[in-house]
Symmetry: C2
């Protein structure tokens, strides 16, 4: 894999703006009150920790988790529209607009106007975007394996089952 | 607990803007490609599912997870500054500004200028904010218990341990 820091686009990221993100999602000397007892907050903290590691690994391409998800979805769903992307990502349309704008500025994604509906633009990867996504996907698989490797095979399967179970029951009531 | 929909402030939220959020974080008919294999993405999906449920329960007060975290941290850390809040939440300063602006508009949080440093404002809850936080904390504990109840006591302990383990090793290398 080739890392080309010289071609790195200048998109601001928290670290580049000189901001620090708490190690492990928890800042020392801060009283987190009832937050520490909540399962929802523990999930969030685990995600921030993984996210932080992810950001470091993706630095040369300015790729963040939502940008990676968006590019993967655009690649696997030909002619995807912005509204469909937002729905697939489970985020608000305004959030998807922000992600696609960044990806367009980075030269990874392009919008083509639809011949049937002038207002709806179908999204696609540029050839540079496809190239970057290939390299980044390899790195992310490796990153995910590294994070997962802190758990045994059996623990990984357990975690997968527990997370699935958690999600299903959260929506089994009206 | 008293719910007062009439006093509900008008702050836009995805649902209010007529946008839909994918059930369970996954949209039907969409190819998620390699995302489905990644542990990081499974964590994210579980979080979206819990978050969605949370939003429904918090609707009367326009409280979102980051707003709840911010209010809890402001209550438990007297005289907290914006930069300290951002660090405690593990987010960028710009994100904390956004959260505090919303909370100020809602009348839950106020900024008081520091006598020693005119530029640094210390944050505190308004009396209305303190009242809302009490009611919301009760609801959130109930919500978290409901989501957790999909797992047995033993499974909950397992999930807690697995998440802790995951986070620690993610940062055990440089």
């Amino acid at each position: 894999m080739s890392v080309r820091p010289s071609s790195r686009p200048k998109i601001p990221r928290p670290q580049r703006r000189g901001e620090t993100v708490a190690e492990g999602g928890l800042a020392p000397g801060v009283d987190y009150g009832p937050l520490t007892d909540l399962l929802g907050y523990r999930l969030r903290r685990a995600q921030i920790r993984i996210y932080q590691d992810f950001l470091d690994a993706m630095d040369p391409w300015s790729i963040t988790p939502p940008r990676f998800s968006a590019m993967t979805l655009i690649r696997h769903n030909t002619g995807m529209k912005l509204t469909e992307l937002a729905r697939a990502m489970g985020i608000a349309r305004s959030g998807a607009v922000e992600v696609v704008d960044s990806l367009e500025k980075l030269g990874y994604v392009q919008r083509a106007s639809s011949p049937t509906d002038k207002r709806a633009h179908s999204l696609s990867l540029t050839s540079r975007g496809a190239e970057v996504l290939d390299e980044v996907t390899t790195l992310i698989r490796r990153h995910d394996e590294k994070v997962s490797a802190s758990l045994s095979e059996m623990e990984q399967a357990q975690l997968r089952d527990l997370l699935e179970k958690l999600g299903q029951v959260a929506h089994s009531h009206p």
